[in-house]
Amino acid sequence: MTIPRSDGRLACGRDVQGILDQVAEGRAAERDAHQSGCLHCWAALAEYDRLWSPVRELAAERVEAPASVLEVALEKIRQVVEHADYGLLGSAEGLTRISVRVVVAIARRSAQEVPGVRVALSRYRPGPGAEGGTAAASPRAAAGVTGGTTTVEVTLAADYGTDLVDLGDRVRRAVAARVRELTGMEPASVSVVVDDVLGER
């Protein structure tokens, strides 16, 4: 076995990182001038190449998704398209339906609690299946829901002087965490629109 020195180099001075990269990138046989005449490099390349073979085999494996993955997910989507105002969360005991209005309310309240937010409002952000349904019929909705997933959009007025980029990040994190905590739904995206900045109260 070729043992690298404590400084991460072979006895010939060659960097072990370079040898490992060479093997991992499938170039073990491409020896440069030094390597062609260096027993240490030859041994290291051969050893690392042998050790790395399970990784090459894994990468070359063809992986097929079980049919159930798609069938279950598509069935949920088809159900939801028929009930576009609700998120559906399944469990062994049954199905929980959460209204899009609930997600909207949680998003608005959690955004409102973030320091630097003066007023938080809501706007709708319909999913693809909501066209002509949720979006048109409920223009005040502030989220799209599909199955256990939701997208949320929050519009706000900020305190003047607040770092707005940082504020956007904090609002996004707060809203996502709160929606996840209270509804069990996964926020796929939380869009923050800073619409205005307001001076002293």
């Binding site: 990182q17 990138e25 399970p54 990784v55 085999e57 894994l58 798609l70 997933t149």
Partner: protein, 184 residues
């Protein structure tokens, strides 16, 4: 380096995405059927557990339906898809307890079984070894080393500098090499 060559057809994807964004579930079904193996494969290699990978793949297919409304088409659909799958996996990994260390009993057999069995067990053991890496290292390793994406693509997907990708990849390779050496 091995590259997973799926049948990629960006123009067909774009056409299907447009239909799906307009609410066409059938178009969406065709779109996700084209990418289902990719979604499952990344999840499996990130999570090292077929059941978790199935759950994540299902969640991603559902999440994509909603998230598609926000896909602007500025970047490649596959890049966007990779990001969603990897983030979903990282969320799951970070929420659950750390993976137990690799044990002697995890090592693949070298004698006493037929070639097919040995190959399968070796594959599973390699998957577990990847699963024992820190999540950040694992994501880089799966995307670059296993999926064969470029450093730049991985950097875009993970939203980190390319130099960070290179650093994490080397650490991941070292970690895995040490594990593989312990099997010898």
């Amino acid at each position: 380096m091995a590259v997973q060559h799926d049948d990629l057809d960006a123009a067909a994807d774009d056409w299907l995405i447009g239909k799906a964004q307009a609410g066409d579930v059938d178009a969406y079904e065709v779109l996700v059927r084209r990418h289902r193996n990719r979604i499952y494969r990344i999840a499996l290699r990130m999570l090292a557990n077929p059941h978790d990978a199935e759950d994540v793949a299902q969640d991603v297919v559902i999440q994509l339906w909603t998230a598609l409304a926000g896909f602007t088409g500025e970047g490649a659909f596959t890049t966007w898809l990779y990001r969603i799958v990897v983030n979903r996996c990282l969320n799951l990994v970070r929420r659950r307890p750390p993976v137990r260390p690799i044990l002697d009993s995890d090592h693949p057999p070298t004698v006493g079984a037929d070639d097919e069995v040995v190959a399968r067990q070796r594959s599973e053991a390699t998957l577990r070894a990847i699963g024992s890496m820190q999540p950040d290292l694992r994501a880089v390793f799966v995307l670059q080393q296993i999926e064969g994406l470029s450093y730049q693509e991985v950097a875009t997907i993970l939203d980190v500098p390319e130099a960070t990708v290179r650093g994490r990849l080397y650490r991941a390779r070292r970690h895995l090499l040490d594990t593989l050496r312990s099997w010898s």
